[in-house]
């Protein structure tokens, strides 16, 4: 039981975030209106996605240095959870955009490039399915994973900051800073980061356990 305290913590925090996220008093600014509440759900999804992809790429590098199949299980589970969170983040983002930017798919660079990055990771998952041999699959997908991560960072993090975008923090718009965020929002936002990340790690450990069982069955 002592090992599982963080799962309870995740549930408690998320219950708090969901209740507070919809009820807390937020400043109503321009077209954003009540849709600013998307902040509590949209941004943490990306934090989770980056966390998962980072875990994934670290395990891929470790796999290539040690050739331990467990590392491959870690990397692939983390990548699939990451893609799942990426899709959620994209969905919440388009929902938010529908009401504030006046369209689900505006030609916003960050939105487009994130879609591209997600497609690269989906290609990673397809690539895994296409190779039947376990060792070969692990090796090739690890190489592609490193390649994908090296593209993910410039695509979603560097380029959108250099060009004009509707997102905060691009060339022409002010970035998200802790100094100008409303205090009420901060009290929900930071727990939201922690809560969603814990939930993603939880899903990830479940997936890892399942994949390890699969590996065990193969080697029996």
């Amino acid at each position: 039981m002592a090992k599982h305290w963080w799962k309870a913590l995740a549930v408690i925090i998320l219950v708090y975030v969901i209740i507070a996220g919809f009820t807390v008093e937020i400043p109503i600014i321009g077209t954003n209106g009540q849709s600013s509440r998307g902040l509590f759900f949209h941004v943490p999804m990306w934090i989770c996605m980056y966390t998962m992809f980072t875990i994934s790429v670290i395990n891929s590098v470790l796999y290539l240095s040690k050739y331990d199949l467990r590392r491959d299980a870690y990397a692939s589970s983390a990548a699939s959870v990451g893609v799942f969170y990426g899709i959620l983040g994209f969905a919440t983002g388009t929902l938010w955009a529908t009401y504030t930017w006046g369209g689900s798919f505006t030609r916003d660079p960050k939105q487009m490039l994130t879609a591209v990055a997600l497609m690269i990771y989906m290609a990673y998952l397809v690539l895994r399915l296409s190779i039947p041999d376990i060792d070969k699959r692990a090796r090739i997908s690890a190489v592609f994973n490193i390649f994908a991560f090296a593209l993910l960072i410039p695509l979603t993090y560097i380029i959108p900051r250099m060009v004009d975008s509707l997102h905060p923090g691009s060339a022409t718009t002010p970035g998200f800073a802790s100094s100008d965020t409303d205090n009420h929002m901060k009290w929900v936002l930071y727990p939201a980061f922690i809560g969603w990340t814990l939930l993603s790690v939880w899903i990830y450990t479940l997936l890892v356990r399942y994949k390890k069982l699969e590996l065990k069955n193969i080697f029996k």
């Binding site: 990055a117 497609m119 290609a123 190779i131 090796r139 592609f144 490193i146 390649f147 410039p154």
Partner: protein, 204 residues
């Protein structure tokens, strides 16, 4: 290497370029600048897929094994990269020639355009060489190449067509040097990654 041994591969791509451009000519006689630019890069993309994808897929296993026993994988991939760069530059020049012949010539600043398309050709060839190496390991699957390749080269092509725009009409593009810098750093990134990662792919 490969194209010198198999002459038909080279002339096949050559014919491919000419027929593609000719089909475009039959459909829309003389397109305006923006469409010309878009069509040019689409042709360029498919030429890259066809030319570079072959560089690993058509090698047979025995010869690969022979190379493996002969040289270090890093020098092998370096050789492939250099060769594909040269091949793709030649193809780029031919594509440009064909496009200008059949589709009219809207380019106003020729040398700028030439530089941009050579840069584009080199970037595409680098990217597809690496992807072809991965795809070749995965059962020589051509569909896989498309799945992996298209999302990755999408931003690259967008960037290139944006840069190339300046050679048709004088437009004000504030981020132009930055875009060049980005292309260059992307190329360097791909070269570094392929040099580091290829030895792992090669261990069969």
């Amino acid at each position: 290497m490969l194209e010198l041994r198999q002459k038909y591969a080279f002339y096949g791509i050559l014919l491919y370029i000419i027929s593609t451009v000719f089909v475009i000519n039959l459909m829309i006689d003389k397109p305006e600048e923006k469409i010309w630019n878009a069509l040019f890069w689409v042709v360029q993309l498919f030429v890259a897929v066809n030319a570079i994808a072959k560089s690993f897929v058509q090698e047979n296993r025995g010869r690969l094994l022979y190379f493996y026993s002969l040289v270090h994988p890093r020098s092998f991939i370096a050789a492939k990269l250099i060769y594909n760069i040269i091949l793709m530059s030649v193809m780029t020049l031919i594509t440009m020639g064909c496009c200008m012949m059949f589709l009219g010539n809207p380019v106003t600043s020729f040398w700028y355009f030439l530089g941009v398309i050579l840069l584009g050709g080199i970037s595409l060839s680098l990217l597809f060489t690496m992807l072809a190496a991965i795809a070749a390991q995965a059962n020589q699957n051509a569909a896989l190449m498309a799945i992996m390749g298209f999302p990755i080269m999408l931003p690259l092509l967008m960037l290139l067509s944006n840069i190339a725009k300046s050679s048709f009409i004088t437009v004000y593009q504030p981020g132009l040097p930055k875009m060049f810098l980005m292309m260059g750093s992307m190329d360097v990134l791909i070269i570094a990654l392929s040099l580091v990662l290829f030895p792992f792919l090669w261990k069969d």
